[in-house]
Assembly symmetry: none
Homo-oligomer: 206 residues x 4
DNA sequence: CATGAATGAGTCTTCATTCAT
DNA sequence: TATGAATGAAGACTCATTCAT
């Protein structure tokens, strides 16, 4: 055989096409919405033939799942990278708010995808019960909280509860921002929310 | 007139059929998901012919919008009713957490509908930019917070920010609960979250 | 029985409703075209309920047939009336051209109905093989030609052939005029056609 | 390129399928009438799947338009070919009558299609105001008349008017023949009409 | 006679997926 | 591997007709 179909070069080419398709999924879904996105558009965007898509993914559903998992993993890695430079866990936690918003909104269509689209398919949850897109992301957030607690820079709070609060609240305002076509004072609201979370609802002294 | 199309009897019958269809929409959507729900199933569930649906709603989209608006209004009214008996604004706010969960989860499929399905259509936001399903609900929550501030039972917090926190967090855990088929310790988590929110993240004395 | 349901008054009322429906058919069809015309619109135009239509006509098809037959009979009677005053058969024949156009185009939507719509249903010809809408009209035209021949005012021509020529040609240009939204020099073309028909294609002396 | 979508073979196959669909349109429409013809029957007649039809035509309407345009062009070409051998313009014109009938009636369903069906859609005239199916055909007829005039074989008549007379009359008797299921003496009537047209209605000497 | 709400069969069109090349 | 033409099932919506009142 003159050429090895498992050669590094071929594998890389294969992998690049796979990624091209996934990028096309994310871009197209974000623009058109989940159910208006069809294979033919994805194929066109990825510069491959329609049939080719099925050489890399078993079905449309699988393709979407994989695309989002990849996306979430990427985003989490970026987040970790960004927080690496912060010295204390407290600083990391503080920056988490900012970076989360930056990471999600730097490409608005991804915010739409995460905040709105990805939730739309109970089909997914039925077919893929193990599908927990935000799991790692939240786990990481929770670890930051635990670290901050350990270094005594924040109170001895329920870190799981806090991670839900932070993630849920952020997710909600990001969704608002996305569905309102960016007409929502995202950063300002983030700051106001952060302030509330730090201080709690009780009056000091109570 | 022998055949009065506006007679009380006829009007009541029409209204009851209209509501039957809307109930069928909500139930079916919650079970099957938005895009797997087709008119024929709704009609069957509502015990009417397919064509009949179009005597009451102009299109599938309109039907879904109306169904949710009705649902949201109903839920808000129930909530207000339940909180009526509470004496102080502080008590109302405290109970809001519980009642929100009760109201939403008493019919699990409605939780699914609100938490997951309703977000799935950027089409809706495009077609009906004024569509803000949670607006009244959040506005009411915010008024509760303002009242509690006024009676000095809670700190002088940013009530808009707080309402986003509460609603976003509740929404997130309700979604978790719904997509995980109720395998999520909803009430317990709610209590833990409530506790965190009361106290904030800062150490007392800071 | 206090009142006789076959009394002249009742019968007249019945007949008037029947005619109202038929008028509505003709008007609506002419405006919207045959297949875009539905019973509900006809009923609205005729100021009756949808179901009422079926008290007067067995089906939509029958209704259309009857409406056109009525229309054709009316038009033919008008035509005869108008020609009554002409003295010679030759004059009648001459005027026939003008009056045909006047009668047909005085209400443009009727021209459309006759020229375009009525031909559109081979269904009609299958279901009602005896349906020959123009039969009486052409028979009358032919009789005019025969009369003119008898009084020696025109040549001894083939009157059946002539009637087809006249009717076919008129029908064609009326159709042109109708489908082109009246942007067709109808009267001028009629005069030019009439002139040709009088003289024939051969050179004098041939 | 291993899979050349523009290879002669592939293109030929595509073109043949396109023509098969158009033939199916014409045949089915002629048999069933325009509005009783549905895509599924056309697809069956053309031996393709329903969806395939939409790979070749954007919509049902477009399909019908294109089918007729193709048909009219084909017929006109056949007509021109047949008349090519005639020496004088006068002969061509004389033969036009015969050939028109032959061309149209050789496939009876096409006569039905041209004479009856194609007129049935004011929709078409609205959507495609430029749609003038018989334009080229009549223009050609008119040019024959002009040529005959030029060679002095017929009188100096109004050629536009004559072309309307010939076409209108032919169209009318062909329609009669078609809707009466061929029970109409077409050729005989054509001869009688032709004779009248040659001589005109006036008495010689007038 | 009159009504108009209800019916449900019928149709165009879309699109995920397959498969011959 | 890659292609894209072909497939055909599915689904929203329309409308002639019926029938309980």
């Amino acid at each position: 055989m003159a050429y090895n179909k498992n050669s590094a070069k071929v594998l890389a080419k294969k992998e690049s096409k796979r990624r091209a398709i996934m990028q096309a999924v994310i871009k197209t879904v974000a623009e058109k919405g989940f159910h208006k996105t069809n294979i033919s558009e994805i194929a066109k965007e990825a510069n491959v033939a329609e049939g080719t898509v099925y050489l890399y993914f078993k079905s449309k559903d699988e393709m979407f799942i994989k695309a989002f998992e990849e996306l979430a993993k990427d985003k989490l890695n970026i987040m970790k990278k960004m927080l690496e430079n912060e010295e204390s866990a407290f600083d990391k936690l503080s920056k988490f708010f900012d970076y989360h918003i930056i990471v999600i909104t730097e490409t608005p269509y991804i915010a739409r995808f995460i905040g709105v689209e990805i939730r739309q398919s109970p089909q997914f949850y039925k077919k893929f019960p193990e599908y927990q897109p935000f799991k790692d992301y939240i786990a990481y957030l929770q670890s930051l909280i635990d670290d901050a607690k350990a270094e005594k820079s924040i109170a001895d709070v329920d870190s799981e509860a806090v991670s839900y609060i932070i993630f849920g609240t952020m997710d909600y305002i990001l969704t608002e921002w996305a569905v309102k076509n960016q007409n929502f004072p995202l950063t300002e609201m983030k700051n106001r929310i952060e302030k509330v979370l730090r201080q709690g609802l009780l009056k000091r002294g109570n």
